[in-house]
Amino acid sequence: MADRYEVRLSGAGGQGLVLGGVILAEAIALFEGINAVQTQSYGPEARGGASKSEVIISDGDIDYPKATKIDLLLCLTQESCDKYSVDLKEGGILLADSRMVTKLPEGNYKVYHLPIIDTAKDKVGKVFVANIVALGAIAGLLKSVSLENVEKAVLRRVPKGTESLNRRALSLGYELVT
């Protein structure tokens, strides 16, 4: 069980967090050759409400597919940060958007308080690529996946014609942490 690594992407419905989780898990499962399972939970809203997507990474079998002791938590809203930071384990990574999350939780975490949404909005010019900016940052923080493989996975899942936009979002996110 020691090699189990748990990632939770959280925020509001419509921020592309489920897709973000799918891309991350696919990059790991298909291109890194390590097991990864992705799950999600959501409310009835297609937009807004609380949304979370989880990726469990392991060298071994992943029996229980949900996160219980989170190693890396992404929060794109204050609500999600308030709700989910309790599941973050001691010494875990908290990746929070610096515009949306103003009140950070107390605790022994490695905190990355970064302009994820602003980078998407101002530097890429499309706020909807915030999930990909976040993926770039996660790729920079995770040992189990390379930026190249995340990019490969991104390009498989994003709509045609948005490839360069997403590539840029990903590398800008990566630069935020490296």
Binding site: M1, V22, A25, A36, T39, D61, I62, Y64, P65
Partner: protein, 377 residues
Amino acid sequence: MKGKEVFFQGNEACAEGALYAGCRFFGGYPITPSTEIAEILSNRLPKIGGAFIQMEDEIAAMASIIGASLVGKKSLTATSGPGMSLKLENLGFACITEVPCVIVNVMRGGPSTGLPTGPGQSDVMQAKWGTHGDHPAVVLAPASVQEIFNETVRAFNLAERLRTPVILLTDEIIGHMREKIVIPEEGVLEIWDRSRPDCSPEEFLPYDTSKGIVPPMADFGSGYRHHVTGLNHDASGFPTNKPSLVQPEEERLMAKVTENLDIIEKYEHLKKDGAKVGIVAYGSSARSAKAAIKQAEEEGIPVDFVRPITLWPYPTEPTLEMAGKVDVIIVPEMNLGQMIDEVQRCILGKARVIGVNRVDGDPITPENILEKIREVV
């Protein structure tokens, strides 16, 4: 397994498995959390000359797949609890008329609308007993995305081989979970088709059991004109209420299952030396159970495990064997205690049986089960 590696959602694997098995007709109605199956097949079926139709309600969806199957097309519908309640009417029709088809129920929480986006396992007894009247039930309960693919294929195979509807019971967790799976190359998994008559249309009897318990089936439109009715009928397919004909035909419907257990039953049975605790779990709860068993082992507690993959008919033999060895059997399920009754029934009082039950919309965690293991040891 030779094939293509993909990163699939459970519902995606179900749709892909159906196509692999030869499904050429889908009739459905939108309902969370099963809708992806319909969405995928609405895209894929026309590409291979199949047909997809979104019907006006769940009842009609179930009816449409029986109609399509009578024309010879392997047919599928997918739904979730509230929709399953509506499909039960025509599920019984498919049982008595012996029309092969596959029904997927991606279980969610609660009676009625309940928890539309939350997982549940509360439809396991409905799957067996839901439609009225005595009827055979073949119900498969996969626990991983790969298993959803494989068991969907097996569901079609069993439906065709036994001429009976087969239910694939998944739940919101594995339906929406994504894992790496292998889509096998064509020919890797065996595909069964219904047997068709080899006699002339004049000699044809739609329920002729002279060559076996499962009668050959003719497609509507193929020249073998015949009558299909939900009334009790004789070998000719026409209604009868003669006791001497009704009783054996009803018994034969059940015997199609009980006499074919070798191809229907499927389970996982893990045995540990010195285990005094056992677990019976299915579907996504079985994953939590497996994680709990590994943690218990690290704590020095060996635990035996039976996981029915075919949920109905229930695998009595391994459960009874486990009961002879352990003192306590734990049955974790996302309901308030359903399969636990079946476990009780088949172990003849040889062990104590206790449940771990959650219906709050959150899955049963390995910790929930582990606590119970520690408690009983």
